[in-house]
């Protein structure tokens, strides 16, 4: 196949044109900044509108605090907020790791033996139908008042989306890829590690991105029941004390952590799935 007439390299297709190049890059820079600045401007405008509404209509602080009051709490009571974020963060991350590990293991078992799926999947569906607010007291009764029930709730909440997605990703392999491995006399282990696992990664990351946010929610809901520390506990306390600036500040801290967690997973996805066309697009 020494015939090189097909444009195997695009080098010849490019022509130097400094002015057009500069215009193209300038336009690209403009679009990049636009994409970053637009949401910032929207948030700033929203905060201004909120602040003005509270001022103009003289809304009582315990009904809705002004963003300035929330900002004051964020700065003045930063240590309290962080002290409460720490347990929630630990519970959410441990629950995330535990729940996803369990889900990936079970998905592997499902794909390994269809019988496992037929027997166990209905149970997983049943558990998933129980509302979180009902799971939480059950787990507190079972596991006590420490971090364990919160970790368990975060884990359970992560478990189901990952189980469903991972099972699908491991199973939905292109038939030709399996035929290829058969022609190569690959062992079932080699098929699993070289075809099924990489094929499942995009599916897995879709689930992990959902799980990153829901794990934090799970930990917070867990803290509503019998807890004195954590973002969830702080939400309950500030609500009962009509301390709405603290309530709002707590929510800002919890949401920021959730968004950061999501960002870490998205970053990991970008690093691991460079080959994925749909991801690159």
């Amino acid at each position: 196949m020494a015939n090189q007439a097909e444009p195997l390299t695009m080098a010849g297709a490019f022509v130097e044109d400094a002015e057009a190049q500069a215009r193209f890059l300038g336009r690209k820079r403009y679009l990049a900044w636009r994409r970053r600045l637009l949401p910032v401007i929207a948030v700033v405008l929203f905060l201004l509108a909120w602040w003005q509404a509270v001022e103009q209509f003289d809304i009582k602080p315990f009904i809705a605090p002004s963003p300035v009051a929330v900002a004051h709490v964020l700065i003045d009571r930063f240590d309290v907020l962080m002290a409460n974020l720490l347990p929630t963060a630990i519970e959410a991350v441990l629950g995330f790791l535990l729940g996803n590990f369990a889900a990936i293991s079970l998905a592997t078992a499902f794909v390994w033996r269809k019988t496992m799926e037929e027997a166990l999947f209905p149970i997983a569906v049943m558990i998933n139908t129980i509302p979180v607010v009902a799971k939480a007291p059950i787990l507190v009764l079972l596991l006590g008042n420490g971090m364990e029930p919160k970790i368990a709730i975060a884990a359970i909440i992560c478990f189901f989306p990952t189980l469903v997605n991972m099972t699908r990703g491991l199973r939905d392999v292109r038939p030709e890829q399996l035929e290829l491995m058969r022609i190569l006399s690959a062992t079932p282990r080699e098929v699993f590690l070289r075809i099924r696992v990489p094929n499942a990664l995009p599916y897995l990351f879709s689930a992990l991105k959902i799980a990153a946010s829901t794990a934090v929610i799970g930990a917070i809901v867990g803290e509503w029941i019998g807890s004195t520390k954590g973002i969830g506990a702080l939400i309950i306390q500030s609500t009962y004390n009509f301390d709405s600036p603290l309530l709002y500040a707590t929510i800002v801290v919890g949401s920021t952590f959730s968004a950061l967690f999501f960002g870490v997973v998205t970053f990991a996805e970008g690093r691991m799935l460079r080959w994925n066309v749909t991801h690159n697009a």
């Binding site: 007439a5 890829q177 035929e179 006399s185 690959a186 990489p198 080959w275």
Partner: protein, 268 residues
């Protein structure tokens, strides 16, 4: 085609048979009944030959190829590949397979796709393995080692698939409509280049196609299959001179051959 291959090649025609089918029959049972995909196929492919399989859709061309590759067990009859059962030939890595849509692994770059056969199924200890770099040069993809499949055109993907099929040094290369989804210009070029690959490797090639011109241009012989049930209609020898060039398709001999194939196909 200048690259010298590291593997010493068996003589192109050593008088042995690469594939022998005796009354091979394949039936599939579905909810709507039993379908006979192939019926009593008798066929002998000499070592080093280039055979094209041509027939209307549903004639069992791909099924026959998959029986040779040990992907489908025949319901009846016997088949031997390289003088043994197909499973033995498969375990010995005597078989390379090229699929219609390349079937590359999207998470591996070109080089890692080509070397996949050496990683699995005991491929590490393969004595006949070829160098990935040489093969990429052979298929015109030197310098593309780190590109991912989604960055390649359809023709380039098939070039990678061909390199991958050849890396274990198989003596039988099975190709299932490999250029069927490509544009005509790319297909023509790959046809010419495939003949060069065949000449330089001495591999026996069985090539399934639904294009009359492709079948006539590539094959030393064209096996015409009839549909429902799939059976041998005619084995047509191709007497065009070698090396073949695309311009040959305008000669009266080629036109007559293509016309003959067309008439037989129409009566299938």
């Amino acid at each position: 085609m200048t690259a010298a291959l590291s593997r010493p090649q068996p003589p192109a025609a050593d008088g042995r048979e690469a594939v022998r089918c005796e009354r091979v029959t394949v039936r599939f049972t579905t909810e709507r009944g039993t379908v006979t995909a192939l019926e009593n196929i008798d066929l002998a492919i000499p070592s080093g030959a280039f055979l094209t399989l041509l027939g209307p859709s549903g004639c069992g061309k791909s099924t026959l190829l998959r029986v040779m590759a040990d992907l489908i067990d025949p319901t009846g009859g016997t088949i031997s590949v390289m003088g043994d059962v197909p499973a033995k030939a498969r375990l010995n890595r005597e078989i390379g397979f090229v699929f219609q849509d390349a079937a590359l692994l999207p998470w591996r770059n070109v080089l890692d796709n080509v070397t996949l056969p050496l990683e699995v199924g005991g491929g590490k200890a393969l004595p006949g393995a070829r160098s990935a770099q040489e093969l990429l040069g052979l298929v015109g993809l030197a310098g593309w080692e780190t590109a991912y499949p989604h960055e390649l055109s359809g023709g380039m993907r098939q070039r990678v698939a061909i390199a991958r099929a050849l890396i274990s040094g198989p003596r039988l290369l099975l190709m299932d409509e490999p250029f069927g989804a490509l544009d005509e210009i790319t297909r023509d070029r790959l046809n010419e280049e495939l003949l060069e690959v065949w000449q330089s490797t001495g591999t026996t090639i069985v090539f399934v196609t639904h294009s009359i011109y492709e079948a006539a241009f590539l094959g030393q012989k064209v096996l015409l299959l009839a549909a429902r049930p799939g059976r041998v209609r005619e084995l047509v020898p191709v007497t065009l001179p070698t090396p073949r060039r695309l311009a040959m398709r305008e000669t009266p001999e080629f036109v007559a051959l293509a016309g003959h194939l067309r008439r037989v196909l129409e009566s299938c």
